[in-house]
C-alpha cells in the first residue's frame, strides 16, 4: 500500500511543542519527531510512556551485588579459607565488613554498564549503525515532525501544519 508522510520542519522548540499539541488535538498521527536536543516535556506531549531503564538499572545492581557476595564467599570462605593477618575466614558474616567495598563497586559496575548496554540496544545505537534522521539539520537547529498523511487530504494537512508554525513542509511519497 502506498503510504504518504509529511515532514514538517520547525525552527524553534517552543513552536514545535505547541504544534505537537495541536496536531494531536486535530487527530493527526505523528510518526516520529527528530530534535537536536532534549525538548522538555516533548515525550509527554507526544504520548510516550515513561522509560523503564531506571528499573532495569536497579535489577542489574542487585545482580552485581549478588555476584560480588557469591564470588567472595566462594573464594575466601568456601574454596580456600586462609588466616590472613590473624583474621581467619570462618564464615561469610564475620568476614563481610572487608568485603563491603567490592560489593559496592560491583553493584555500581553492573548497574551502570548493563543499563547503558540496554539503552544502546533498545535505541539501536551501535558503531557502524547508519543515522536515520531524515534531514541533517535536525542535529543542529531544526526540529522535524513526521506526520502520517496516508488517509488525509494533503492540501488540508499542509495548510494546517503551516498554521502551526512549520517553516518547511515536504511530502514523502512511499510508493
Amino acid at each position: 500500500m502506498a503510504s504518504k508522510t509529511i515532514h514538517a520542519i520547525y525552527n524553534d522548540d517552543d513552536l514545535l511543542l505547541h504544534a505537537v499539541k495541536q496536531v494531536r488535538e486535530a487527530r493527526y498521527h505523528i510518526g516520529e519527531i527528530y530534535t537536536p536536543f532534549p525538548v522538555h516535556g516533548l515525550d509527554k506531549a507526544v504520548g510516550e510512556a515513561p522509560t523503564r531503564l531506571a528499573i532495569t538499572s536497579f535489577l542489574y545492581g542487585i545482580t552485581g551485588l549478588s555476584v560480588a557476595v557469591l564470588m567472595m564467599n566462594y573464594m575466601m570462605v568456601q574454596d580456600w579459607p586462609q588466616d590472613i593477618g590473624g583474621k581467619p575466614s570462618f564464615s561469610f558474616l564475620t568476614n563481610m565488613p572487608s568485603f563491603i567495598p567490592i560489593m559496592f563497586e560491583l553493584t555500581v559496575f553492573f548497574a551502570a554498564h548493563l543499563m547503558v548496554i540496554t539503552f544502546y540496544m533498545r535505541s539501536r545505537l551501535a558503531p557502524f549503525k547508519k543515522a536515520e534522521n531524515p534531514d541533517p539539520r535536525t542535529t543542529d537547529d531544526m526540529f522535524l515532525m513526521e506526520v502520517d498523511a496516508t488517509n488525509h487530504n494533503v492540501e488540508d494537512l499542509t495548510k494546517f501544519l503551516y498554521d502551526t508554525g512549520a517553516a518547511e513542509i515536504k511530502l514523502i511519497d512511499n510508493k
Binding site: D13, L53, S57, E105, F109, V116, N133
Partner: protein, 605 residues
Amino acid sequence: MSSHYEAPIREPLVTGEKTYHDISVEVGAPVLGRANKTWYIVFTLALIAFLWGLGCIIYTVSTGIGVWGLNKTIGWAWDITNFVWWVGIGHAGTLISAVLLLFRQKWRMAVNRSAEAMTIFAVVQAGLFPIIHMGRPWLAYWVLPIPNQFGSLWVNFNSPLLWDVFAISTYLSVSLVFWWTGLLPDFAMLRDRTTNEFQKKIYGILSFGWSGRVKDWQRFEEVSLVLAGLATPLVLSVHTIVSFDFATSVVPGWHSTIFPPYFVAGAIFSGFAMVQTLLIIMRKVVNLQDYITLLHIEYMNKVILLTGGIVSVAYITEFFIGWYSGTSYENYTYLSFGAATGPYAWAFWALIICNFVVPLTLWVKKLRRNILWTFIVALVINIGMWFERFDIIVIDLSKGRTPSSWAMFSPTFVDIGVFIGTIGFFFVLFLLYARTFPVIAQAEVKTILKSSGEYYKNLRAKHGDDVAHHVDNDPTAKEPSANIEGKKDFFGDTSTEKEPGSEHVPTVNADALGLTEAQKDRLDAMLARIGTYNPKLESADNLQKLNGVGPLLEQHLHQVGIYKYDQVANLTKDDYILLDEVIENFPIIENRGDWNTQATELKNK
C-alpha cells in the same frame, strides 16, 4: 508554552547573541577547522615529554625498580605520590558531571565534557603507576580473581590494594561510558555538519547512528540521571578506598580515621584546580569565551574555596591530634612540629603555603574573578596537592618508630622522568581530544540557551517575562528555504521588532557583528558591486573551500551577505579592507592567498 524564566539576578551562562545554530558552529569550529601553530608546538612538547617518560618506564621495567630512589625505609615514594595525585585530579570531572547534575546546576554544561575527558585521561595516568610498581607488569592480571595454576590461590579480598583494583577499574570504565553516551548527540551534530567525506564517516561511526528521536532523548536523559546517581557515590568511594591504602595500615601518620573525607575533599580541590588550568587556556585557544565565562571560573573558584577549607581543617585537626596524643613518634608525622622544623621542612611549608595560604586569596571577589590570578592559584594548588601526597608518604615513612631505620629519600632521574612522562601523556591525550571532540556538550547547552542565554535574558528584561522566546528566522543561520513564503506568524515572531534603520540588504545580518550604520552602508555598497545573494533562487556555495576559511569565518562572511563564489570572485582591494575592518581575525593576504582566482576556479568546476 513551557516557561524559560530564570531569576534576572542570575548572570547569563551563555554570553553574546546566540542562536542554536551559532552554538553548533562555534563548538564545531575547532574540530572542523584547522589547527593553529600554537597547538602543534604544545603538542610536540607534550609528545617529547611522553616519549621521555616512556623511555624511563622501559628502563624501569627492563632493569628493575632499583633504578628508582626507593630504599629499605621508604618503599613508596614518587610512584604512589603520583598515583594518588592523578586519581585525585580525576575527581573533578565526575563531580561536575554527576554531582552537579543531581543538583541541577546549569553551569556544569559548559565544562562537564572537558572535565570528564580530564578525568579519564588522569585516571589512565594514575593506573600506570601501580602497574609499573609491580615490577613485572606482564603479570598484572594476577590482581584479577581468576582461576590459576596455584591450586586456585585466590586474590585477597581483605586487602585495600585489591579494593583499589576494583574501585579504579569501575571508576574508569563507568566514567568512560558516561562520557561517551553524552558525546553521541554531539558527534551526530559534527557528522551532519561536516562536508568532508572522511570526517563524516568517522563521526558517523563514533556517533553510533544517533538520530535524536523523542524516545531516544527520553532514554538519554534517564540514563544520564541514573548514571549520575551511580557515579556520585562511586567517585566518593574511589578516593575513600585510595585513602584506605594508608588508613588501614599501622604507620604513624597514615593510621588516621579522618583520611576518607579528607582525601575526597582534597581530590576535588586538586581536580578543580586542574580543570581551571586546562579550561582557562582552552577557552581562549578555541574561542569559547562565550560559553566558558568568567562566571564559570568564579563558580569553580568557589568550589575550590569550599574544598580547600575542608582540607585546611583536616590539616589543623591532624596537627592538633598529633600534638595532643603526647606520643613521641606522632611528633614526626607529616603534620607536626617535628615535620615543620625537620629535614623535610621545605616540603611541609610547600604544602601549607600552596594549599592553605594561597587559596585564601580567593575569598576576595576581585581576585576570584581575575583570570590570571585564578590561573596562578590553580597552578599553585596543583603543586601543593602533589606535595600533600609526597608529605603523607615520604615524611611519614622517613621517621618511623625505630630511629635506627630513619632515612631520607631522593628521586633519581627515572622517578622524575616517569612523572614528567605521564604529564606529557596526559597533555597528548587532552590536546588530541581538543582537536577532534566537541569540547562543549552543545546539545545540553542548547537546552539552557533560552533560560540562561544573555540574549533571552535581555529580551525578558525588555519585554517582560511572558515574551515569546522564538529563535529568530535568521537568514544567516542556514541556507534559507525556498518555501518559507506564506509562513504565518503564529505567535508574533520577535523578528518583526527590528530596530529602525534596518533598510539594508536583507541577506546581511551585520547586527551580529556590532557594526556602525556607516559600515553597514559601505557593506551595502560592496554588495551592490559584487552582487547580492538571493536565497529563493540560488543555493549558497561552500566558502570553506577557500584558503583560510573555517566554519567561523564562513559564518562571518554570511553575516556580511557573502554566500557565493561569484561574489568572492568580484571582491576588490577596497572590499578586502572593509572585510578586514568588520570581521574579527580576518586572515591576512599571506594566509588566504588570492581568493578571487580561487573563487573563479571553484565556480567553474
